[in-house]
């Protein structure tokens, strides 16, 4: 229970950090109360009470317990009809403005600029409470020099990954693929014919709730080695002091041998390696595997 209360407390901070729709809801409820717009009393009282329950950490913790620990704090707000109530309050407010304008127009007093300006302000407030353009979760990618890889070319990158997957699948009904995270992330979504030694739950922890399957130590080591390999950017991008040392390269090679053996034991028959690796790393992998890699746009493919 203590953990739930803590999650509820922190959850409210996170919920209001990213956007202010909750604040807009409170403002609408206040408007409906003070303006005595009580036509939908049942909905108003339900919304007001449950909003209070969601904000107070103790009651929010109870609601989280009711929803089961499968869900995080933000899902208790699904019990509050946020969208209908804000839209209802907004409509009542705008209707009041335009009805006052109509009465004034008939009496020959009011210009149209005032209700238009107020309507524009309302819509502006609505968007100020929201994402205001591209939300944070859409901004991905790492900077490589001056270039944002994923942010600038998401569709191109997806096509490259799919071309690599097609090349790996060529001539086979099913394959067991070991590849960088971005490729394995896409693989099972692209085709059910691509098997993987370990799943997306290793880097997307939310998926661990969907099954009881465990990942063995050897598979976790394979994942860590592949992540380390992905982090080996071309040497010319780094200052000399930041480049990998000979000891680090030797350790990488030793771990490569161990993990490639583990991959073969786990049924892997296709390996994709990032294409930006320096040639010395590719040559070492070819020596260990005893086969030559095939260069595909952005990747090296080893067919075992």
């Amino acid at each position: 229970m203590r953990e739930l209360v803590q999650n509820a407390w922190l959850g409210w901070q996170q919920y209001t950090d990213q956007g202010k729709i909750a604040a807009l809801l409170l403002a609408v409820l206040l408007f409906l109360w003070l303006g005595k717009h009580r036509k939908q009393r049942t909905l108003f009282w339900y919304t007001a009470c449950v909003t209070g329950l969601c904000i107070c950490p103790l009651t929010a913790a109870l609601l989280m317990a009711y929803q089961t620990r499968f869900y995080n704090y933000e899902w208790v707000w699904s019990l509050v009809p946020v969208t209908p109530v804000i839209a209802y309050g907004g409509t009542v407010f705008l209707a009041q403005i335009w009805e006052n304008y109509e009465k004034g127009r008939i009496a020959g007093r009011t210009g149209v600029w005032k209700p238009v300006l107020l309507t524009a302000c309302c819509i502006g407030v609505l968007f100020l409470c929201g994402s205001m353009g591209k939300p944070d979760w859409q901004k991905t990618g790492e900077r490589l020099g001056d270039q944002d890889w994923e942010e600038s070319q998401p569709e191109e990158k997806k096509q490259k990954i799919r071309a690599a997957l097609d090349a790996a699948l060529e001539g086979k009904d099913t394959i067991c693929l070991w590849a960088p995270v971005e490729v394995m992330d896409e693989a099972r979504r692209y085709s059910g014919r691509i098997l993987l030694p370990y799943g997306r739950n290793l880097w997307d922890n939310g998926l661990n709730a969907y099954s009881y399957e465990n990942c063995g130590e050897d598979l976790q080591a394979m994942y860590r080695w592949m992540c380390d390999t992905e982090a080996i950017w071309p040497e010319e991008l780094f200052a000399e002091y930041a480049r990998p040392t000979e000891e680090e390269k030797a350790r990488w090679q030793q771990e490569a041998g161990e993990n490639l053996e583990a991959a073969l034991e786990n049924g892997v028959d296709r390996i994709l390696i990032p294409g930006y690796l320096d040639q010395e790393y590719i040559t070492k992998l070819e020596e260990i595997l005893g086969i030559q890699g095939q260069e595909i746009d952005g990747y090296y493919l080893f067919c075992l």
Binding site: Y15, Q18, G19, I21, K39, Q40, R41, T42, L43, W45, Y46, C49, V50, Y66, Q67, T68, F70, Y71, N72, E74, W75, S78, L79, P81, V82, T83, P84, I86, A87, Y88, G90, T91, L94, A95, L126, F127, G130, S131, P135, D136, W137, Q138, E155, K158, T174, R188, R189, S191, G192, L196, P197, G199, D204, G206, L207, A209, Y210, S211, Y212, E213
Partner: protein, 322 residues
């Protein structure tokens, strides 16, 4: 109550009943998918067996809904004076209403295009597409781990296994020969968007039965709230525009507002269908989910207000007319 108001509320009831038929039909299709899914899980039936079974059931549901809709359409047409009145009232539609209706239509159309043609999907913590691909590849339900394609060794939680949406999507892929990505990321979210707007149009009719302009303004604000609320997981905007295939998005955008609509119209018994449908599409506390909470909350709120009204009228006493 004036005769025009009685006629308006009568027309509003008829429109609500038509929307109710369509939405109840959608809920029945989901519950039918649940029945087929549970049959497949328990008996180990293949997807090739489930798909035609579902198609048969869905065809019957669709036919029933269509017949009932046509039946209501025939009853509504009284001919003669009523039709002439309708034609006259349509010609009196104001410029303001036309502008608002056009704005609402364009916003909804843009959202539909964004879902059908867009490529941005929120995938964190979700494996629906992997699951559908696994079902299609293995021609069965939960025979392999969707994340790896390997057979299950430890199994999965029962409360996840009983949810029917991946099976429903797999069946749709088989029946219409579409790719899993098209069905999961485009077709289903577009359908969910349209269903949600039907529910919100119904809510608009309940809130603002006296004014067409207000109804359309309500719909415009709902559309704008979707755009404004796409910043975080758990918000309606992100759920509908970038993850409409998820059970939680269907619940938030269709089931919960529909439960509100049914509660406000005093049709709480029908709202139990929303409770059952929610249990079929999202993880709940043994079937006790958000729809049941909302239903109970609205009922208690209504009873509390009725009690307060009763107390007030007791205090005021009988009104004497001399």
């Amino acid at each position: 109550m004036r005769i025009q108001d009685i006629r308006k509320s009568g027309k509003q009831n008829q429109k609500s009943q038509k929307t109710d038929l369509i939405l109840m039909g959608v809920l029945c299709l989901v519950m039918l998918a649940e029945a087929v899914h549970l049959t497949a899980v328990v008996t180990g039936s293949t997807l090739s067996f489930c798909a035609p079974l579902y198609a048969l059931g869905a065809g019957l549901v669709a036919a029933a809904v269509l017949l009932l809709l046509l039946g209501r359409g025939k009853k509504k047409s009284t001919g003669g004076r009523a039709d002439r009145e309708k034609i006259c009232s349509q010609s009196r539609v104001s410029l303001g209403y036309r502008i608002l209706a056009l704005t609402a239509g364009l916003l909804i159309l843009f959202q539909l295009i964004q879902i059908l043609a867009g490529d941005v999907v929120y995938l964190e913590g979700d494996m629906t597409l992997e699951t559908v691909n696994s079902f299609l590849a293995a021609d069965g339900i939960y025979r392999v781990d969707p994340l790896t394609g390997a057979p299950y060794e430890q199994g999965m939680p029962l409360r996840i296994k009983i949810l029917c949406l991946p099976t429903l999507y797999s069946i749709l892929c088989r029946l219409f020969s579409m790719s899993a990505e098209t069905v999961v990321f485009h077709v289903v979210p577009a359908f969910v968007l349209v269903c949600g707007y039907l529910v919100y149009w119904q809510l608009a009719g309940i809130f603002f039965s006296e004014s067409k302009e207000k109804k359309v303004c309500f719909l415009i604000l709902v559309a704008l709230l979707l755009y404004a609320g796409d910043y975080a997981y758990g918000m309606d905007g992100l759920g509908v525009l970038y993850g409409g295939f998820r059970g939680v998005s269907f619940r938030a955008w269709v089931l919960l507002p529909y439960t509100v609509s049914l509660s406000l119209r005093g049709k709480s018994m029908r709202a139990f269908l929303c409770v059952i449908t929610e249990a079929c599409v999202v993880w709940t506390f043994y079937g006790l989910g958000a729809c049941l909470f909302l239903l109970a909350g609205m009922y208690l709120s209504g009873r509390f207000l009725a009690y307060r009204r009763g107390q007030r009228s007791e205090k005021e006493g009988p009104v004497c007319v001399s």
